[in-house]
Every structure is written in C-alpha cells, then in structure tokens.
Amino acid sequence: MFTQFITILILVSIVGCILYGRRLIRTEKVDAVFGNPERAKGGTHWIIVGSSAILLIWLYYSWDIAKGFYPKSANELCQVAKVNESLLGLKYQFPIEEREFKSTSIIKIENKNLQIITKEIQSSPDLSSPQKTTLVGFINETRQLIPLLTNENLMETDTKIQIKEMTAEIRLLTSNFKKNDYPFETDEQKSERLRAVSEEGGWGITKVQSGTGSIENTIEVPLVPATNKGLKFDAAAKELEIINDKFFKLRNHNPQFKNSIKALKDKIKEYRGGLDDTQEVASTFAKNIVKIARRIEFASIYPPNALNEMQKAIVEFDNVQKSEQGGLRFVDMFLFPAGTIVSSGTSCSEQGSGRWLPKPSDTLNKFILMSKPSVGYKNIPLLWIDMMDVSKIIGFILPDWIADVLPGEYPIHTKDGVVEQNFKGRVLKVVTGDFKLFKIPVPYGHIWDSFLRVFLGLIFGILIGVPLGLFMGLNRFAKGFFDPLIELYRPVPPLAWAPLIISVLGIDNTGKVFLLFMVSLSIMIISARAGASGTQLSKIHAAHSLGASKKQILRYVIFPNSLPEILTGIRVAVGMCWGTLVAAEFLAGTTGIGFVENVAKKYFQYEVIWITIFIMGMLGLLFDVTLRKIIDKTIPWRGKG
C-alpha cells in the first residue's frame, strides 16, 4: 500500500517537475548566453527529479513495485518456476533452447575425445607398436558402440513403448492443463492448502529471533500455491517431475549394444590384467578408453528420430503453459527486471537484482528494527545512550602512577581478614576511577564507535598536520627535512598499511585511529602548506611595515589566509577517512559500521549491507554539511582574498 503510494507520488512528481522545468525555460527571460554561470543557478525541481529517479530505479530493480502492485505475483511465479525447473532436464535433451540434440553433442564430444586419445597413443614414446595397435583397436571398438545406439532398427520395442507412454502422459497433461478446474482439487484439499497458505505468510516477511536479538534472513517467496493459477502450475510441476525421473532412468540399451560393451570391457580388463608394472602407461590409456565407453553407456543417446514425438509434446506443453500464464508473463517481464523468481526444489527465491538489491520497504522495516536498542546488531545497538559514571572519566584522565609515587604502602589485610583503607589506597581508588559520582549519559553503539574513530583520526591529523604544514610553508629547513618523508608516504594508499596495523598496533581502536590519522595527516599537511605559501606577499609586507611581530604576522595574516585551504583539506580528509574506516573495521572488529557490513556479508543479509551503506552515506553527508556551515560562518573572506 505504502509502496504503491510512493511509486505513484514519485511518477507524478517526476512528470510534474519536468513539465515545470520546461515551462520555466519558456517563460523565463533568458539573457544569459551559454557559458554564463547564471544559467546553472536555481533548479530545485531538477533536484526532485534526480532523487526521485534514484528512488524509482531502486524501487524498480528491487522489485518493490511488483510487490506493491502485485503482491501475489511472486507466489504465482514461484509455481511457474517449479514447472520450468521440472522441464529443465527434459528440455535440455532437445534443441529447444539449445542448438542441437544432447545426443548429437555427446556424440560429437566423445568422437573428439576418441580422436585425441588416438593421437596421444600414436605419439606416445612409452608404448610399443603392438600395444599401440591393441589400444587403437579398443578405440575403434568403442567408436563402433555409438551406431548401435543410434540405429533405429536396433532399438528395443520396450524402450519405444516407454517413450510413447511418456509422450502420451505429457499430451494428457497438456490437455488437462488447459481446463479451468485442473488439477481437480477436492474441497478438503483446498481448505488444507489455504490453511497452509495463511500459515506461510506473505512475500518478504521479516522475523526477529526473540531473545537472541539476531535478525534472520527471511526474504521469503511463499512456496504453497495461493491462487488457482498457481495451483495449476504446482500440480503440473509435480507430474512433470515424475515423467522427468522416468526419462532419466530409461536407458536405450539393446542386446547387441549390451553384448558389445560387455565384450569390450572384458577385453580391456583382461588386457590390463596382463600388463605388468612397467607398462603403466598402456594400462592408463586402456582405463581412459573404458571411461569413454562407460560415458557412452550412461549418456542418453537415442536414434535421431526416436524422440521427435516427445519433443513435439514438450514444445506443445511449453507453449500452453506460457499462454496459461497470461498477464503474469508481462508482470514477470516488466516488473521483475534483471532476474526472476527461481525454484529450487523445496524453496523459491529471488534471483537477480531482487536478491542483492533489497526492497526499500524491507530495508526501512529492518532499519527500524535494528534501530531498537534491544535488537541492534550482534547485541550492540546502532546508536544508543549508556549511563556512565563521571568517576570513570576521572580515572581515565588521571595517571595511575600518582598513587604509586606517594609515600607509604598499600593496605594489607589483617589477620582477621579485614582490609583497612589508608590514604595511599584511597588515592589509588580515585586515580583508577573506582568510586561513585553522578552519572551522565554517554552515547555508544556501532554508529558512535565509527564516528568516534573518524573524529579522533581527524583531530590528531589536524593537530599535527596543520602546524607542520604551516611550518613547512614558511621555513626552508622544515620544507627540506620533512618533504621527502611526507612525499614518500603520501601516495601510498592508506589500506596498504592495513596488514601491518594488526601486528604493530593491535586490534583495538589504536590501530584503526592510527590508520585514519595517517590518511588525514598528509592531506592536512599539504593543504596547510599550500595555504601558507599562497599568502600574498603584499599583505605580509603591509603587516610588517605596520610593525607586526613574527608571531603577529603568523597569527593575523598567514593563518587566516590559509584557513580556507585548511578547511577544504578537512573536507577532503573526512571523505577519505570514511573510505578507509570501513576497510579498517573489516580487518578486526567488534563494533562499527564496517564490522556490521562485514558480518552481514557472511550471512547474506543484503538489507543490512544496504543499511550500512546508507548510514555511511548519511553520516558522510552530515559531516560535510556541518563543515560547509562552519566554513561559511568562520571564514567569510573565503574566495575573496
């Protein structure tokens, strides 16, 4: 319902905005020539068209439109898929979707294999010429086996009858299939089926395993036929399955063939038995010849015209089932782009873009579910608040050695088993945060952890990179000294360091923050340096002649001048940090968005993967928008110097 509404809304807004845009061009007084930036100003309606188009493509390729408008279509297509699955093996025998009969292609392949082995035998230096003659004799006998199978006159009557029977069965099914009340379900069966349908639920339901907090994969296409049309296909699929099995059990073996192959096998066995260890090559060749003979024995090779009737029957049924699908075929074609529903015996699934591109509605539902702190991902919420005692922060800030350097000893228990606290012990408690103060709310969760890592990496990068960059822009020694170092490590992609990080810095936050720090540092240095060296000399001269000290020049001229460059650098660094973060969290993690994505990948949870992608996109955007606001507020002189 919701999806339907959204889809229509999107279509309407796209059409409306395009019409508005075209009218605007006509009504607007255009005195700006091509190339004038004025022409690119404004255009909210095009933003709407752009974002609506993305949403529409998403809705379309995730098959959410199909789900919204034809919720029963997946179930019906599942039944059709069952028929297709049952027909797969049989169809493959005939030039229906293939170019040639399977018999033909097998004969071609095996003749080629026999040729290859003949050549190998004849050119083998390890074989004596009598051996070669014997082996080639075997090959010729193997080759003689094929005409025994393809000769219509030799074909057994029993085999012919069985093929006829199967053909008749397919024909009967075809004529029944056209009838409206096929498969002649009784009321009892019907009520039973409908009960199963209601128990099974609809297309794409999501379940949460209560207690464990884990979200199960439940992109389910209901298996039990819910509609009369579906039922028809379901029943036909079952019948075809039986015919299919019968066909593959059938062997086109006549007495002549059986005798010949038995004789050949015995001969080769006898020959191999007569060989000693030194003649292993000949033995292997003989064994390979037997393998080809056995392949011919078990392949379904039939005389060229023996299966013609059957082929016709199958094609006829295929056409009937296609026409019986009616409108469903068009739904499949147009609303299930890039894939379709596929049956696999006991289950039906979406294969194609619907599989890896989750439906917007499902994604939203799952996101709402994951946002609940009690569900989260792997027992950790996405973003939530935890009450933390301020003492912990104090304990973290104050170094523990303060207690160690105080005079005296830590308390020792007395013989009564009581520990009496002394001053030194109390100080230790304070510096380790082992006391109670008031509690403050602290955010935690996957999103917060990722955010914090990026933030810390960025801050360290700025704190070290900016002064160093400015220094390098102003001082010959600094430039010369640090340049080779920076230029050497800057072009290295940050992820190239990743394999080392675990070994050197461990798996905790240190390593990840360090990786991000490396990313932001080089960017900050480059931008600060460019800013410092780009300051106009006239401004410095002016300040100098007004009597400004070195410090003042740096503080009031050079720094404000390089600020725009620095802030642009920060914006670039944020983007790079996000890019690196995910890979860093892939390495080893217990929390973080990258960790969530990595684990979701292992369990094929495509919705979760997309949720993480969106979260990262949104957070990146948030960072960027914030920075843009800061830039606009703090340096109004940007672009005007």
């Binding site: 699955e85 797969l88 093996g89 493959y92 979707e97 293939e98 170019r99 292609s105 097998i106 392949i109 095996e110 294999n113 199960e216 994969n217 992109i219 389910e220 296409v221 593959f248 390979n288 393998k291 080809i292 392949r295 078990f298 392949a299 379904s300 782009p337 890039a338 894939g339 379709t340 596929v342 049956s343 696999s344 015996g345 006991t346 289950s347 039906c348 699934s349 294969q351 194609g352 873009s353 599989r355 792997k378 027992n379 675990i502 070994s503 461990g506 798996i507 905790d508 390495l587 080893a588 993690g589 217990t590 960790f595 990595n598 684990v599 990948k601 292992k602 369990y603 094929f604 949870q605």
Partner: protein
C-alpha cells in the same frame, strides 16, 4: 530530450537482458576449491583426469571461504563447489539459495579447524571460563564458528560474555601472536601452524573427537547444473570417490596433491591425517541419518536440500 530518453530505455533493456541470459550449454564445468585444504581428488585435478572423465574441460578456481563460493555459484560462475564448509552452505540455503548438497567431501576432527589459546594467557581447558570477558578471534559464518560454539559448550564457558572479534584465520593468528586476543579459532594449515607456535589447542584432536565436534565439508552444486547435467555430476562424484579409494589404499601421488594444494608435502600429510574421506556407503549413511543429518538438523537447516542420488553406490 528524445536522445536521453532513448538512451535510458536502451540501457534498461540491455541491463535486463544481460542478467537474464546467463550460461547456456555446459561446454566446460567450473569447479571451486580451496588451497591449503588437500584432498585426494586434487591429484586428478593436477593430472587433468577430471576433464578426461567428464569429456569436457574442467576449470578449477580457488576460493578463500565458502561464502564466496556460494556467491560465485549464484552469479553463475561456478557449477560445483568442492569441499565447501557446511556452515557456509547452511547459511546459503537459509537465505534460499538454489544450491544442493550432493556429496560429503570429508569429515574432519579439530585437526583442520580448531581454537588455539595463547600460552601467555595461561588459559587451558581446565580454566576456560576465564575466557569470559576477554577477546577472542573467530571467523564468523564459517566452520570455525561452529567449532568455537561447540568447544565452548564442552569447556563450559559462556560465549555471550566474551568479546568476539570477527577475524579471518590469517589475521586471527597474527592477533594471537601479538597478544591482542587470548584465543583464536582458525582453519588452514599455515594459520594453525602460526598460532600453535605461541599457543596450544584448547581441545586436543582426540578430545574434540570424543566430544563429537566434527567438521564436515561437502560438495554442493547449483540446481541448474544438477538438472541439466546429471551424468556429469555423477561422474565428478565418482572420480572423487575413486581418488578417495586410492588414498585409502595408500596409492595417492602426494607430490601432485601438494602441488595442487600449494602446501609442503609434510604439512599436507599432517593436515590430511585429521581428515576422514568416507566411502560412498558411509557418505549415504551420514547424509541420511548420520553426522551430516544431525548437523543439519542441529543448525535448523531447511529440509530437502540434500540429494543422495548421485553417489556411486
């Protein structure tokens, strides 16, 4: 405007067509396998015996984990996955992937997949509850996670109280060496070797076997390939079982196997000693009512994804 519109429509059409027309006739069989995970049929792979037996070229592609095998099978790039772990297979069929289990590649004790605790931490089987509140490295969604779960049940430690870090075996071994984690669960000969250099197995191979902790690797196949080329699949499994027979009889060419699995012969023999290659009859028994069946039931696997009809009985 019209050009843009026709371009958009054209590309939509192209996208829709390219994905729906996947592979057609099997002019070659594409098989996935693992390096560092030796099995007797790799000798046949090395000597191209599979191509001879199947009559068409066989292309072997190595993977690093079973989940990637499933992905490749769904994308239509792989027909048969040999020695896929059972846990990735279960994850795949739980997400309704159209693949089927047709054979057991091998059963193995903790020889090939195990949890190793660092010697520095002093944690052994006896005081394993100390693991609670500490960091452990586990490659989630693999057989190693299953082994981890079962081992924790044996030693009586609570998984939920531990800090589980998702790490692939090589990284897990590195983290154990650097002391970041007190235990790492791993698979693969080289990773276990690196980990046991600084640690010991939580459960010995024998203890794990006694506790019924058992890894099973399987052969899985796409439903499409199974339906279209049943005789090729049968031959593939037959050749594999012939190789297993040869291994049991001690006639395998160890050099060819070690070359194919990219391991040293000595290391490979050690890994192989932990593997059990079943006979076709044992395989069927395991698949219908034995270890495999129990495993699948224990993990809540949807039924009907096991097919024993291709076994050379």
């Amino acid at each position: 405007m019209r050009k843009i519109l026709s371009f958009i429509l054209g590309s939509i059409l192209a996208l829709n067509l390219t994905i729906s027309v996947a592979n057609s006739a099997a002019k070659e069989v594409r098989v996935a396998y693992f390096l560092e995970w030796p099995s007797p049929n790799l000798e046949d792979m090395q000597k191209k015996n599979f191509a001879k037996a199947l009559g068409v070229p066989v292309k072997w592609t190595n993977f690093t984990n079973g989940g990637a095998m499933t992905d490749a099978m769904l994308a239509g790039d792989i027909d048969i996955s040999y020695s896929q772990g059972l846990v990735p297979f279960i994850n795949a069929v739980k997400s309704k992937a159209p693949i089927k289990l047709v054979d057991i590649a091998m059963e193995y004790g903790m020889g090939g997949t195990t949890c190793v605790t660092s010697n520095a931490s002093g944690i052994t089987k006896a005081n394993a509850t100390e693991l609670e509140g500490k960091k452990v490295a586990v490659p989630l969604g693999t057989m190693a996670e299953y082994v981890f779960d079962e081992s924790m049940k044996v030693v009586g430690a609570d998984r939920k109280k531990m800090d589980i870090i998702q790490m692939d075996p090589e990284e897990g071994a590195a983290a154990l060496v650097s002391g970041d984690v007190v235990m790492a669960c791993l698979f693969g000969g080289n990773s276990i070797k690196a980990a046991t250099a600084v640690g010991t197995r939580l459960l010995t191979v024998q203890e794990a076997r006694d506790a019924g902790i058992l890894g099973i690797d399987i052969t899985s196949v796409t439903t499409k390939f199974m339906k279209e080329n049943p005789e090729m699949l049968r031959t593939f499994i037959e050749v594999t079982h012939e190789a297993n027979d040869r291994y049991r009889a001690g006639k395998s060419d160890m050099n060819a196997m070690s070359k194919a699995s990219e391991m040293k012969v000595g290391d490979m023999k050690e890994t192989l000693s932990g593997f059990k290659f079943l006979t076709p009859a044992e395989t069927k028994q395991s698949m219908t009512k034995g270890n495999l069946d129990a495993f699948l039931k224990g993990m809540g696997t949807p039924r009907g994804n096991v097919d024993t009809s291709f076994l050379p009985l």
